[in-house]
Each structure stands twice: as C-alpha cells, then as structure tokens.
Symmetry: C2
Subunit: 213 residues, 2 copies
DNA sequence: GTCTATATCACGATAGAC
DNA sequence: GTCTATCGTGATATAGAC
C-alpha cells in the first residue's frame, strides 16, 4: 500500500457522512435531524457537509437508495446460491432481509422506519426502486405458488403481512441478545409456513391433503 | 335540545384540533408538522391553538394517548363479549385492532407510525401506557398457550411478529377497496394460525397429532 | 476540504387588543 | 376564543478566506 493516511480519523467522506446521518435519521426521524446534528456526529461544521452533498434532501435520498441497494443485493445473493426446496429458499430470503436490517449499517433500517412520511419529492423519487425490490419478492412468491408450495388465499397480502412482521423486528429485536438472527429467521418462517395455532384446536376450513403439522 | 349552535362549523374544540393534527402527523410525521399547519387545517391562526393546548408536545402526547385508548377500548370490548374458542377469539381481537387502525380516526395509525421516534420526553411519558396494552395481548397469548391452543416456540416473538404484520397494514391496505377489514382479519389470522406453506412441501418438523390442513 | 460569518426564513411560543 | 404583532431561536444554505 502506498499510503496509510486514510486509516485513522478519515476526512469526511460521503460514506462516513451517510453512515452517521442514517443512524441519526433512524433514531430521530428525518425532519428532526438537522445538518448541525449530522455534522457534529461526523466531527465537522455544518457548512462542510455542503462540499459533499448539495442539500439535506440529497443526503436523505442517498440513504434511502442505499437502503434498497442493500436489500436488493442480499436478495440477489440468495437467488444466486439457492437450493430449490421452497421452505428453505424462503428461510434464506427472510434471513437475508433480516441481515439487511441489522448487519449492514443503519441504511435499510432507516429506510424502513422513515420512508413512509418522507417529503413528497423524495418519496416519489424512491418509489420506483422500492417497487422493484417488492417485485422481486412478488416474483418469488409467484414461483412458490405455481410450484404448489404456497397456499395463501391472496399471496400479495400474505407477502405484505410477512414483510410487516420482518420489518417490525427493528423495533424490538436485539441481535446481541440470546437469540441470533438465524434463530429469528427460523421462528418467522416457521410461523409463516406452518402457523402457530394448535392442530387440535383447529380442524377447520381446509381439511385437505392428509398432511403435516 | 336547548341550543343547536354547535352543529355547524364548530369552534376549535380540543377534539377537532386533535383530529386534524393526528391526520397531519400521520402523513408527515411529528417534527415536520408545524403549529401553523395544524391551525390552517382547523381554520384558525396558530396562536389560537395555545388557548386549547399549552404546547405542540402536549398535542402530540394527547394524540398518542388517545391512540392507545382506542386500542385498549377495542380490546376490552372483545374480552367482554368473547366466546371461548381460541381461533375465533384471536380473530375478533385482530379485527378489533385493525378497526382501531382504520375506523376510529387517525389516532391509532399516527401512534403506530410515529411513536418510535418521538422526542424522548414524549416517548418516556407514553411507554407505560403502551406497555399496558402490550400486556393485554401478552396475557391473551399466555392463556391461549396454557389452553394448548398456541404452538409457538416463543409466544412473545410470535405476538410481536403478528403485531408487525397487523400494524403494517396502514401502509398498504385500503379499506375502501374490494377487501373488507373482516376479510383482512381473516387472512391475517389464517396465516398466523395455519400457515400458508403447502402441507405437501412441508411434512417436516412437527408431524404430530394427525390433524388438519 | 474545512472553516467563520452571515443571509434568509420558518418555527414555537407569548402579549395584549377585541 | 380568536386575532395581529412580534420575540427569540434554530433551521437550511451560501460566500469567501484559508
């Protein structure tokens, strides 16, 4: 390596600014996070941020985009290495999404918690990318359904409810606790796939193919 | 009735202010909603709001409290009229919670979407009430588990994931569409109770009591 | 690339007339 | 109970020195 200056107390790079800003926005929300807050967290004055970004909106937009990028990358990585068995495939995707929320910086978490009331200009700019990630999951669910692996009366709603459950974990799950993200993914997929109601109590509606549980 | 003055264009009552404020806060978030915004929506000037509330924080706190109050009332009403069958009871509770989100003003919806990054003072003031609502659900789940109706490896996590799924509906469900809230509650409980994985694909783990699905 | 200084504006809140 | 007028503060953003 020709230089090692960058290894200690780096100058305020775009990445460093975004890292800190994303954490603040996750904690306090976008509107309540000031440029002075971000600058202070980075260790510079507010005016210096404008050398790296044109506006506060641009910082927020970059964070939301990065959040999606993390999720998309995680999804594609599973697709590239997956087995064909339905439940296992879903488990890997759920684990990957949880990884996006907890393991790759605050970008995805900030995206999930703050997107829905972002300023309209930002919201509209991000929606297409967000839709494209959602389309990946919709495609996955379509495939599972066509295989006969999925039995929901409405797969879109089943997917959205699963998503809501996954995304809510950032509000209550502590990845440093006794349960690992693998454990959590297992529990979520178990619940989604098999249900948690006792078979005894519920010999109801779909008393079909003499199967499991 | 002795007077009917109050039936048209009422003076800015506390309730009317809170109604409008809750809707704005649901849409834009607390920090991005100004007293001028609220006043404009009510049809008065900002200074007039201070005749009814001491501060913006007080308005927000009142909205968050009312959101919980709506949920608690809905929960208690189900408890007071419920049958004993586990799945039906859960269905009624899920329907009641969805009703709180969609049918009783924007209070509960605003609570769910904006609470997590409320200013610390407000957050701390609301947490106890929020915990008491959560305790009601925890109690319900404990009862279901002791009956043998619930089969989750961790009932708290099962409950939190269900909650995440329910609460996410305010971001994507349109109660004016083809599906009713009853339909939605059915789908969510079906998914939670029975799972949506095909029995064929998943004769796995818990191949227990020759039951349903 | 970061700083000081500042322009401009919107915010929450108050005072006091009506 | 609502208004006009305003205070003090902190917001985003810019200008220009270093």
């Amino acid at each position: 390596m020709t230089t090692n200056l960058e290894s200690e107390s780096p100058p305020a790079s775009r990445t460093r600014i975004l890292d800190r800003a994303a954490q603040l926005i996750l904690d306090k929300g976008f509107a309540a996070t000031s440029m002075r807050d971000i600058a202070s967290s980075v260790g510079v004055k507010a005016a210096s941020l404008y050398h790296h970004f044109a506006s506060k909106d641009e910082i927020f937009t970059a964070i939301l985009e990065r959040g999606i990028e993390v999720m998309v990358t995680a999804f594609e990585q599973v697709e590239a290495t997956s087995t064909s068995e339905a439940e296992t495939l879903l488990r890997e995707h759920v684990r990957a999404h949880l990884g996006s929320l907890f393991e790759f910086g605050p970008y995805t978490a900030a995206h999930v918690t703050t997107f829905h009331n972002a300023p309209p200009v930002i919201y509209d700019a991000i929606v297409p990318r967000r839709d494209s990630y959602e389309a990946m999951w919709a495609g996955l669910f379509d495939r599972l359904e066509q295989q006969g692996s999925l039995n929901a009366s409405d797969t879109s709603i089943a997917r959205l409810v699963l998503f809501g459950g996954m995304n809510s974990t950032i509000e209550w799950f502590d990845p440093a606790g006794v349960l690992t993200l693998d454990d959590l993914a297992d529990m979520i997929v178990d619940q989604f796939w098999h249900g948690v109601g006792s078979a005894n109590a519920a010999h109801s509606r779909r008393a079909a193919s003499g199967g499991a549980r």
